[in-house]
């Protein structure tokens, strides 16, 4: 069984990577790559050659191309000690036009060109753009650089290998003192007296690698981080997974003690401290607060994360729909062709046939009439605002469950074992709940993991209609803003969840139904 699941999982992993590859082809190769600058104000404000170089640099940052400027090439030579700093300074400034280069510079440019063209790069030189004969036009300085399109396989492998990073004591490049991991039973964040185990690192990116706090799930870690792709416009520079899992809402200030002993009312979460080079020298506030350069902290916020909101609403809707849908489905099958079956059928037809947008608006309008809040407000403590989104999500899945349960139960009703049970004198109730339901529910059980994990993904229309700050809208927003990193990351996340939920569904089904087995014999 374990072997089978592992094989299925690896198989699923490969198809997830192929999916990511297809998505990468779609957005990196097929779409116009200038589109990503649509909402970038820096890009709009730059002019002439500077704009071009900015464009190439961003393309490099977001994985389209490999890019090297002439200055970077010279710096590389300096690092390899083929060139001294003085020599570099003498040749780093190129002429406004190729003709105005000095002999020395021209020699290095030729070397640069040869070096990169050999590797398949394309070398481009932009001549200076002059406003007047002596003055450069805005951003008009001359530029020299080389670039090469990054092939799909390279982009894909660097993406896949970068998904999981494990923090280690050699992560910080600079001199940081003794690199080590310390295990303590008394977390210094709580004053060093309260019992609270933690692992603290020096030389790692995060200071706290493992710690306890009072929020669910109590034990937290920074050792393994998941990177699904850096956002360009949706949440600039932040990873998709972080965007989905970071709490939102207003700050929760409380009195905290900084490592220096300074007490202050602040929303900072010291457990999230990350190393920033020379941050204490650069900022006096940090000097007052911290004893080392682990100074970049996140803040404690009152709301859930995007995924949190989606999951809370989704999971309650799932529980509700199973809680209501299953009894109703049984009732419909038991009283086939009676009034309850007919009403249920009308409801099912309504839910399936009417566009989901239409009935969500209908629920919103009805709920608004009844005085329920129709928009979501993170600052509000009222639980009532969850009601309409949950109903909107639950009602269609109730219809779906009713439809399938009724179908499966009616199919079972003429089986021999039912006739036998009836002839044995069991009551109808016993037959339905004890025998038919057990058999009819097996295909439905297969879908439970999918609906639970699906709650993490969120619902596009519901979240949009009720203005919920959830994860469901992330993909559509990313598409609208041409944010490639987010698109790839979200796709990866969806595909992974769907693979896992199918496997879990199979396992669960084998668990409840002893006839289903995944051992190689029966296959």
């Amino acid at each position: 069984m374990a072997k089978y699941i592992l094989r299925r999982f690896l198989h699923g992993l490969i198809s997830v990577f192929i999916v990511v590859g297809i998505v990468m082809i779609l957005i990196y190769s097929m779409l116009n790559r200038d589109l990503i600058f649509a909402g970038d104000s820096t890009y709009t404000n730059l002019g002439n050659n500077q704009k071009t170089v900015y464009k190439y640099r961003k393309w490099q940052e977001y994985g389209y191309i490999d890019f090297k400027s002439y200055a970077e090439y010279l710096q590389m030579l300096v690092n390899e000690e083929e060139l001294s700093d003085e020599e570099r300074d003498a040749v780093v400034n190129i002429g406004k036009k190729p003709e105005s280069d000095s002999e020395e510079v021209a020699a290095y440019i030729a070397q640069f060109t040869e070096y990169f063209e050999k590797q398949g790069f394309k070398v481009e030189r932009l001549n200076a753009v002059m406003a007047t004969p002596r003055k450069y036009a805005s951003g008009g300085q001359q530029q020299l650089f080389a670039y090469k399109d990054r092939p799909l396989w390279k982009r894909l492998t660097s993406y896949i290998t970068g998904i999981i990073t494990i923090d280690n004591i050699h992560a910080v490049q600079e001199d940081i003192g003794e690199r080590k991991l310390t295990f303590t039973l008394h977390d210094p964040v709580y004053g060093g007296k309260k019992f609270s185990p933690a692992i603290i690192g020096n030389g790692t990116v995060h200071k706290y690698l493992l710690y306890f706090n009072s929020t669910f799930p109590f034990l937290h870690q920074n050792l393994i981080s998941i990177n699904l792709g850096k956002s360009y416009s949706v949440n600039a520079g932040i990873d998709v997974f972080t965007t989905m899992t970071t709490p939102q809402g207003s700050y929760v200030p409380r009195e905290i003690t900084y490592p220096t002993g300074l007490k202050e009312v602040s929303a900072d979460d010291l457990h999230t401290a990350v190393y920033v080079l020379d941050s204490r020298e650069a900022n006096l506030v940090n000097e007052d607060r911290f004893v080392d350069d682990y100074t970049s902290v996140q803040t404690v916020k009152g709301g859930f994360s995007k995924m949190g909101y989606s999951f809370v609403i989704g999971i309650i809707a799932v529980l509700l729909s199973y809680g209501i849908g299953i009894p109703l489905g049984i009732a419909m099958a038991r009283h086939k062709d009676k009034i309850i079956d007919k009403i249920g059928t009308i409801y099912i037809v309504f839910i399936i046939a009417v566009p989901s947008l239409a009935y969500i608006f209908l629920f919103k309008a009805i709920g608004g009439r009844l005085g329920l809040p129709t928009t979501f407000d993170m600052e509000s403590t009222s639980k009532l605002m969850y009601v309409l989104p949950i109903i909107s999500l639950a009602l269609p899945s109730i219809g779906d469950l009713m439809k399938w349960l009724r179908r499966y139960m009616i199919d079972q009703m003429n089986s021999d074992y039912v006739k036998f049970a009836r002839s044995g004198g069991l009551s109808e109730r016993e037959i339905f709940t004890g025998h038919i339901l057990k058999n009819a529910a097996i295909p439905l059980i297969h879908g439970i993991p999918a609906s639970v994990l699906g709650a993490l993904v969120g619902a596009i229309i519901t979240e949009r209609v009720y203005v919920i700050p959830g994860a469901g809208n992330l993909l559509t927003i990313a598409i609208n803003r041409y944010d490639n990193g987010v698109i790839v990351g979200v796709t990866m996340f969806y595909a992974m969840l769907s693979v896992v939920s199918i496997i879990l569904g199979d396992v669960l089904m084998a668990f409840v139904d002893p006839r289903i087995s995944f051992s190689s014999k029966s296959r």
Partner: protein, 325 residues
């Protein structure tokens, strides 16, 4: 029903013919007689036996007439009243008062002063055409591929992998990339909805084919040397008819819903389809007195989808030979 048939049977004969003496004939007694059975006639007999179907079919006919004939015979210019601020967002009563009674104004006017009634039918023509064309393409390709997929075990292995992979590429992403590559026109949308849309249908058909493929009667057929094409067309296709009709009943409304959904998230057609109308009138929903311009396209879309769905479902039931008794 049967009584009536009997009466018909008897009325063809005169009294003498009915009660005259008939000699025993060995040849005649060997003949096996059964009432003549025509599949499609039985389908429609069962279908029209249910009075609800007649009502729904009438509604559907009216809707289709309005969708396809009304825009042909009436003049509609969306921007005719654009400069006339007094003509915008009118309730039906106000519009009739302003323009005089005519069918154009019975649902009031929209944001550009256009008659909502006309806008809805022009929109539903686009939406319904899109749904019908997409369903036709997807069902044809899906059924053909699904049949082959179900029959061949080698193809099954390959196609299942393809299905697992393509099924995980977000549909919205695929559509939006295609819409960005080409323009958001009608045919781009058809292409976007059909380029992978057939896969799910093919998978469904494949499962059905696999269920019937190994039934005893097909096994017997194969043992007797019936060619595979004959098994497919004579043994399996009749069994699949009701499944296919039921499938079409779900598919056609689903494209209308999908178009509405895509328009709502801002990735829909550039033409004023029903989805686009709903999307543009969304703000009117909460404004008192403007409700008609939002709810009209919603209601029309809902009625069209319900009518299509119920007709298809009942036709699917009727095309199952087991209901022909």
């Amino acid at each position: 029903m049967e009584n009536k048939d009997m009466k018909d049977l008897f009325s063809a004969y005169s009294e003498e013919e009915l009660f005259s003496h008939v000699d025993h004939s060995d040849l005649e007694s060997e003949k096996i007689t059964a009432p003549r059975y025509s599949y499609w006639r039985s389908v429609f007999r069962v279908f029209f036996r249910n009075k609800v179907n007649i009502v729904i079919l009438t509604i559907l006919a009216i809707l289709i007439a309005f969708t396809y004939i009304y825009p042909e015979v009436s003049e509609y210019d969306r921007f005719a009243n654009l400069m006339n601020d007094a003509a915008k967002h009118l309730s039906p009563m106000a519009a009739i008062k302003k323009f005089g009674f005519s069918i154009h104004w019975i649902l009031g006017t929209g944001a550009a002063g256009q008659p909502t009634f006309d806008a809805v039918w022009y929109g539903s023509r686009i939406s319904l055409s899109l749904a019908l064309i997409c369903a036709a393409i997807n069902l044809t390709v899906g059924i053909l591929v699904g049949a082959v997929w179900g029959f061949s075990k080698k193809i099954d292995m390959v196609m299942t992998e393809v299905y697992n992979i393509i099924g995980n590429v977000p549909y919205i992403l695929l559509i939006s990339v295609l819409v960005l590559l080409f323009a958001p026109s009608f045919w781009t949308m058809v292409f976007a909805l059909t380029v992978t849309g057939w896969l799910a249908i093919a998978y469904f058909i494949r499962t059905q084919v696999i269920i019937i493929r190994d039934r005893e009667y097909n096994l017997a057929s194969r043992c007797l040397g019936t060619p595979i094409t004959r098994i497919a067309t004579k043994n399996i296709l009749p069994f699949m008819t009701s499944v296919i009709v039921t499938l079409a009943a779900v598919e056609i409304p689903s494209y209308i819903s999908y178009e509405v959904f895509l328009a709502y998230i801002g990735m829909g057609l550039s033409e004023m389809s029903l989805g686009r109308l709903i999307y543009e009138a969304e703000s009117a929903m909460v404004t008192p007195g403007w409700g008609f311009e939002f709810w009209s396209p919603v209601v029309v879309a809902s009625i069209i989808t319900i009518a299509l769905y119920v007709t298809g479902q009942n036709l699917g039931d009727a095309s199952d030979p087991r209901t022909h008794m």
